[in-house]
Amino acid sequence: MLNGFLKKFLGKSDSKDVAKKRLKFALIYDKLEVSDETLENLHRDIVEVISRYFEIDHDAFKLDIHRSDDLSALVVNTPILSAKHR
């Protein structure tokens, strides 16, 4: 009890609160991880869809996941050679 009082008084936080916070972040981060296989499949599917509407440069097509502290973004970048008119 005294121990607890002192901790509060000195403004020290419980180590389990640190553990919980770290865990929550770790679990979120773990779930954002994507396997190479998934990325390759996604790459193929996106190219297929875009190709229905545009002539694109397949070699220059780029697919990336950009991560920062509080945000994860899927970035697709592709040069368009021409639009398909139908």
């Binding site: 607890g4 419980d14 553990a19 919980k20």
Partner: protein, 266 residues
């Protein structure tokens, strides 16, 4: 008879899967059910020594699955607890000798013979895990109040959900003094992080080591708090969901307890 297969799993090793399997299996048998506990840790068998049945192994689970023996020949009957049977792992093979399809078939054979079948899953999420969950109807996930164990539990829970199994959580090796001091995750913290239903809380207890030293069932040890906790889990598994979950408390002094009561402990 149409039994139920329950896998006991965790991702991480050394958190208490084997201890839980032996004790919950014993508890279910004491409830009058016909129970088989299956050691799926092929190549690293241990459920046999924990249960004190290591001297009676003739055939093992690989023999039974591959049809080299009858199920009844591989199942060792516990002489202290009625209706409890162990199907030991093989020690000479590795996990890849079995495939999930084998286990689905074997599961049907087991279900025809027993009310409850507990699969003691090995650590990891590879083939040994896949074989252990292949035929499972339900799952018990064991974790310790510790960061790496909870993280691994989360991973395994995700894999179980992907197989349409909604697991129940056992938090094992709780040290109440540390929880009260704020130096160990409480079960509320863990449930909050994992969003999963709890089925029981088991304290750290020296009797666990004592009982594995001698091979005597933990649940028959009168003063064992862990044994009593596992018995309650067995009853809840067996449908007694009205049974409240007991939270392990520190033995501490009166004032310490009063302090906790009035919120001064933390």
């Amino acid at each position: 008879m149409e039994g139920k297969i329950i896998v006991v799993t965790s991702g991480k090793g050394g958190v208490g899967k084997t201890t839980a399997t032996a004790s919950i299996g014993a508890g279910l048998a004491m409830e009058g059910k016909r129970v088989a506990v299956v050691d799926m840790d092929i190549g690293l068998r241990n459920l046999d020594v924990v249960m004190g049945l290591e001297n009676r192994i003739v055939f093992n689970v690989v023999d039974a699955v591959k049809g080299k023996c009858k199920l009844a020949q591989a199942a060792i009957k516990d002489r202290r607890i009625n209706n409890l049977f162990l199907i030991p792992a093989s020690q000479s093979d590795n996990k890849n000798v079995l495939i999930p399809e084998d286990m689905v078939r074997f599961g049907e054979t087991l279900k025809a013979e027993y009310d409850y079948i507990l699969m003691d899953c090995p650590a990891g999420i590879e083939r040994g895990f896949e074989n252990s969950v292949a035929a499972a109807d339900e799952a018990l996930v064991v974790c310790m109040p510790e960061v790496s164990s909870v993280r691994d539990a989360d991973r395994v829970i995700g894999l179980l959900y992907a197989r349409s199994i909604t697991p129940k959580l056992i938090v094992n090796r709780i040290v109440p003094e540390m929880v009260e001091r704020g130096d160990m995750l409480s079960h509320e913290d863990i449930v909050d992080v994992l969003s999963v239903d709890l089925i029981g809380l088991v304290p750290m207890d020296d009797n666990v080591i004592v009982s594995t030293n001698t091979g005597n069932p933990l649940v028959l040890q009168k003063e064992s708090k862990a044994g009593a906790a596992f018995l309650r889990i067995a009853m809840r598994v067996n449908g007694r969901t009205d049974l409240p979950i007991e939270v392990p408390r520190a033995q501490g002094k009166f004032w310490k307890r009063m302090g906790t009561k009035f919120g001064l402990g933390k």
